[in-house]
Symmetry: D2
Subunit: 418 residues, 4 copies
């Protein structure tokens, strides 16, 4: 059968993301060998997105025949009926999903929500493969490409870091061995790309988005399990990582939640304050343009290594959003005053089925994306490597300013024509 | 039996609340005859409050023996086991509660929540009896008195508007007829108060809090029923009145709600905007220091005849709270984009069990508390007449400024001792 | 000479602005007789505006030959060299400008600043003639018309309240008497309008903008004079009226100002708070979309009878904008802590040359625009009657919602095309 | 003469500020030898502060006789009349003030303003000596000690990093050589401290506050000089460093300023937006609790390596404070629309006498306080090393949380007793 389990292949982790000089805050993507295993995530329940996916799959398999395409199980089932090349997925038992051991590259088709979902599949991984995101209609804020540019985008990413101009392709001699994906560590695989040479390849630029590490604890200090899509079946009590934020919220009952915020780790832990509020957010800089923004938080550039504390509708005149160093341990403790009802906890827009009771805690700390090695030797563990748009006004590191202005309508001028 | 139904008595509505000159924005309470039927509401599940209630009841019945004390049914059941004077309540069938036809005065023991609950019992009444509120511990914002002042407070209210200094009382000749409360329209009843004369009586001051009139409609424009405590069994589709606000909210699912706000009535209705947000509030000025404040709304004095529109966590950089004339009809329409889930609706902190689906509408307009009669002849229909604290720094109309500073810690100074 | 002093004519005040039913919050303009004396104010130093003014003048004098055109002295001097009909102005001594005794109608060409300037010429008048405003480029927020619509606009205003459809005009028999404007109280003057009949006339709609009454006092409680354009030479210590706001500000030195805000009049005056801030604003609802908005104030509909207190950069976490009833007396007192420097005071964007020293006070109260007469008999003294745009989406009372969305970009949607 | 010029002595820069494990974000102060030259800055025009200074000087010279005390020239002149030991200052020509070449330690007596002034004396230095601050009355936010603790504080700082417990002092054998300060590189000088041994010395903790590097440019791109106290006579066009912020402001005229904000350096520079506002702030995290806070900025921990962009009263609904990486070059350009008037520029509360005209630019970038050396070898150039309070609840890194709660009244609870 072409519908194969995932055990049979390995991924070739991108080893060399390096700082670049001209755009010093973004990194350059350098594959040691072409990416082989491409995880494809798409938005659900959207016909336009689905058609786009089919077109995308067809293109990739034709022009990059050595790649293997991986999908979430429910989607793999659907697709292997349509295509006659192998469709990969992870183990059928979808509560145990080691995507990060398989995928070299993730591509998403949808919006910001799809990117968040894709990231949630790597919620227990400290090393996440690069992510290339496409959106159908209007762009989102998380650095996606327009779907219409998918051919150029994929090619740029595929050859990123390739040492020299690509030779003309000779023919379509590459075939799928039929026996599951094979690890290619040989950079000569780049020679097999269909189509004209693109001349000297430029490196794709990568924004390392740091995440939040999150643990949930009962009132005795024992870890509580996380739920899918974040948690794996056999490892439910690990910390998980969030790309936007963790949210505590009063939920459906319109009464104030009481949440105490502590900073540091015992014995240096100290109470910052008790929020009496609708809820409380701990966000990444990436999440600063999501829920935190709506709650009145300021906009923090994704390269500021920090955590945001933003209350939601605090019953106070004197609460102000706070930005802390990313490495600050933050504890959110559910107070006894919560009228016996549970406080709901959500990560990146996904609510945990079980709420939290008095005494329980959410413990959070920001991921550090720059390991303390010598500059050349850093290996940039941690973070979600997001491939930013290239070309045009949105090029390179400017994409963030472009997003503020074009999408968020930052400081939009008054007046008739706007 | 001493536990009697409410049918047997009538109330003597306070007819003459008049504008006062020195405190021109508050009204003076003038009973044509002493108030007879006192509705007593207390906070639940609080032993301290319960003891206070017993002390309060004992005092009132001893010093003001001609008054009748009315309670909510569940409480009346408890109390008539304790006391040997008649305990009144409304019809056992608590879904049909015509408190406003019975009570001359409402007194509350608890906090702001208890006041809101008391007001909800008059949610279909356009004429609400005056409300005298006591709090146990720290004061709330809605103008309550400290419980320790209850004797002075009750007396001041009881004699408010009495034409002349009260005579010394002769003896304890007043007895309860035993046959249920009797309507006293005779001002001479004032002579029966126990204790020394208080000298020339001063009028209690009343802040008329205007409310919101709220109707809920299905997508065909038909009225939907309200739920208790607001709605009566036989009249569920009437509009109800809120003292603080009506809230639409995403509820437990952490996804944005889409709510369109329209202003005016057809054919002059016009879309103000579509809020994509956690929720949306329409508040009274009274409610401006409640949920609206937490959501970033400004503080509006309760005498500014207005409505506040305040979004909750809007996904927008350019939403700003808006204050409209009280008589502006505002419609909140649930949009189709709400992902098939229901939007929750709450009034004054009480959530309606059934949420709202796409196409449904909440229609709101502020209550006008000043009828357009000639100044002397105005009868101040509408609004909840709240008896404000007297004495000391909190006297008269200053109570609002006092509340801002003392309770809300408005513009609290920086510094060590602050 | 055609350049005449203003003494020779009188104005026919619009007597009957009446509430209208369909747009119940706007009033209908009803002239007892056609307006005769038109005060024309234009923005300075703008060639496009100047050309427009010439075109406008020519049109008015040709089609409404019985009107008299009045200008500010400096402009009148320029214009009477160009035109061969009489150009009126007020007394040369421009520090004594009783425009409100002369003008029946004010028209402005420019932006919001021009409207503010026109209003400042009536800063000591309690009865202000209606104002019709045109803007050249993009519209402003204060309800102006596009200049391209000036013919329709002027005609609509001119005939507003005329009892019946206007007859066809017979010929151009009307001439200027040459002897200065003559008071026409005769409604038959309407018959003299050039051009086709417009059919049944509709009334122009008027938004009465309430203003702030402002007095400045030294530390002994003596009134201090106001300066031009607000104050008249012979009457400098009167209160003046502001359309947007009065501003106290630290001025050029970057140190905090200390300003105490008191509410009420002695002996019921009470300290609200001491603002330690860059400055402090007391605004009208009209001004809520001007400086107050920039300082974080909420948006208040011009028909909410209120005052806004908005601090500018307060050194406090717990300051929140406050909305008070229009009739609240507010005192701003300069504290001794201001390091010996003066606090600057500005009205509607015009700074008073002399600043305020410690102990000085600005006393403010909102204008009440609805006199307490019986509904039919109200004469709507007070306020600046602004003629709102008619036609199209901006029609009638909707102009405010239109302004929020079209000009202020209220709740502007996120996304690429915006 | 005892009033000596500064040329004769050198300073022994603290070489080893090291990261500490238990309070990992603060550094440990380790002198290679005791600090010799102490710069003493005090608040002006405050008798209480002056008396405290005299007491402080007397104590230091008695118990630490080998130290040299340095003052600003005007103060040195006063003091050398009072004391009979040498009083040092910098060159009389106070426009050339190389304090950073002289002082080993700065101590300040006053408030936050005094600390800012002390920092301004090092505005062109990239290596600033540690700063120990005392306040008289209520504490400020910048980490000062209470003056009453000055003996303990000074001793703790003086011995910080001393390898072993200090021996009992033998006698008062240490005398001032009388010939001007002598460089002691010998750690044995620690033995000379008067008083009992303090047992094992603990290191003082240092918070490195990163600053802003600021240059001002004319419209041709030429540097403009800075003014005292920041700039030196012979080096006026250097960049200067600010501890709180640089401010552009409309100044005294109440009209909007137009300032364009650009990010990056050419050719990667990009327009972020044009602020139409009262002014614009670029702040350090330290400055986030100063002016930026008043303008609505969020609170950023001083260890988040970042820059804050905060508009002051922007005429926009959609401006939101922005936090950028410290190393982001930010340019503020004065636009032509500023009505011909100058825009005022201030640094840390000191206004530059000359304002900026259209086309001029302020260029800003954050100081990087962590040099990229290997962890052990880092030398922490840059930043102002602020010695944080020790002892009690304010100990160590908690001082920041303590300041938020105790001084700023962060999230101050509602209710009567506060
Ligand atoms: N009131 C609010 O603003 C709420 C915001 N959210 C946010 O939505 C996220 C989940 O997204 P969806 O599943 O798509 O939910 P959704 O369908 O409710 O949409 C959330 C919106 O936020 C945008 N968004 C998500 N992440 C963003 C980012 N980092 N920067 C800028 N925009 C971003 C999306 O494009 C979408 O427009 C959560 O992580 C939370 O941050 C969730 C609930 C309420
Ligand atoms: N995030 C927030 O600020 C939320 C506020 N609320 C408010 O709570 C009200 C219901 O009150 P409870 O049943 O006691 O709920 P609750 O127990 O959740 O307490 C609400 C708090 O608001 C205070 N409060 C209520 N009305 C007030 C007013 N008009 N002015 C100033 N303070 C006021 C109460 O004293 C109490 O401290 C709702 O009408 C809503 O306004 C409800 C949910 C969330
Ligand atoms: N930071 C700010 O927002 C500042 C605002 N102002 C405002 O400017 C007014 C003076 O106007 P100009 O002489 O034209 O000064 P200006 O040339 O500085 O422009 C002020 C801007 O505010 C607009 N504006 C004025 N009144 C308005 C209103 N009621 N609603 C909405 N927009 C309004 C004008 O159209 C213009 O865009 C003052 O009364 C004050 O309210 C003045 C200084 C600073
Ligand atoms: N509206 C406002 O909030 C204004 C604030 N300022 C601030 O004042 C600073 C100059 O200080 P002074 O000469 O003492 O002027 P000042 O006498 O006007 O006082 C400024 C206040 O800010 C406090 N402060 C200064 N730096 C601080 C910081 N980093 N964190 C917390 N609080 C701080 C001071 O303790 C003082 O209470 C400027 O750098 C600027 O940040 C200056 C003008 C207006």
């Amino acid at each position: 059968t072409r519908f194969e389990a995932s055990q049979s292949f390995h991924h070739a982790p991108f080893l060399a993301i390096e700082a670049q000089t001209s755009h010093h805050d973004l990194l350059a993507l350098k594959w040691p060998a072409p990416p082989r295993n491409i995880l494809c995530i798409r938005k659900d329940d959207d016909d336009q997105v689905h058609s786009a996916l089919l077109e995308y799959i067809t293109h990739i398999k034709r022009d990059y025949p050595e790649t293997n395409l991986i999908f979430e199980p429910y989607l793999a089932k659907q697709l292997h009926k349509i295509f006659d090349f192998p469709i990969y997925t992870v183990s059928e038992d979808d509560s145990n999903v080691p995507y990060h051991e398989k995928a070299d590259l993730t591509t998403t088709l949808g919006g910001d929500g799809t990117i968040l979902h894709a990231a949630s599949l790597f919620a227990t991984a400290t090393s996440v493969p690069p992510m290339l995101s496409f959106s159908m209609g209007t762009l989102g804020f998380l650095g996606e490409w327009k779907f219409k540019d998918y051919k150029r985008a994929f090619r740029e990413v595929y050859v990123s870091g390739h040492p020299s101009p690509l030779p003309e392709r000779i023919g379509n001699e590459v075939t799928d061995g039929g026996s599951g994906p094979r690890v290619t560590t040989d950079a000569s695989a780049w020679a097999n790309i269909k189509g004209k040479s693109m001349g000297a390849s430029r490196s794709s630029r990568v924004l390392m988005r740091n995440r939040l590490r999150i643990g949930i604890f009962d009132s005795d200090g024992n870890r509580l399990p996380h739920e899918p899509p974040f948690a794996h079946a056999n490892n439910k009590c690990e910390d998980i990582f969030a790309l936007n934020e963790v949210l505590l919220h009063r939920g459906a009952l319109p009464h104030l939640a009481h949440i105490t915020i502590l900073i540091g780790t015992p014995p240096h832990q100290r109470i910052l304050t008790t929020a009496i509020a609708d809820g409380f957010l701990v966000s990444t800089p990436t999440g600063s343009t999501a829920y935190s923004l709506s709650s009145g938080g300021c906009i923090v550039h994704p390269l500021v290594s920090s955590l945001l504390l933003t209350p939601i509708c605090p019953r106070s005149l004197s609460f102000r959003p706070v930005v802390l160093p990313a490495n600050t341990p933050v504890t959110l403790r559910i107070e006894a005053e919560n009228r016996g009802k549970e406080i709901e906890v959500s990560v990146d827009g996904v609510r945990r089925k079980e709420g939290l009771k008095a005494g329980m805690e959410v413990r959070v700390v920001g991921e550090e994306v720059r390991t303390p090695g010598a500059p050349g030797a850093r290996d940039w563990m941690g973070g979600v490597p997001s491939i930013v748009r290239s070309g045009g006004a949105a090029d390179g590191e400017d994409h963030w300013v472009g997003g503020l202005n074009g999408l968020l309508k930052f400081n939009y001028p008054f007046g008739e024509d706007g």
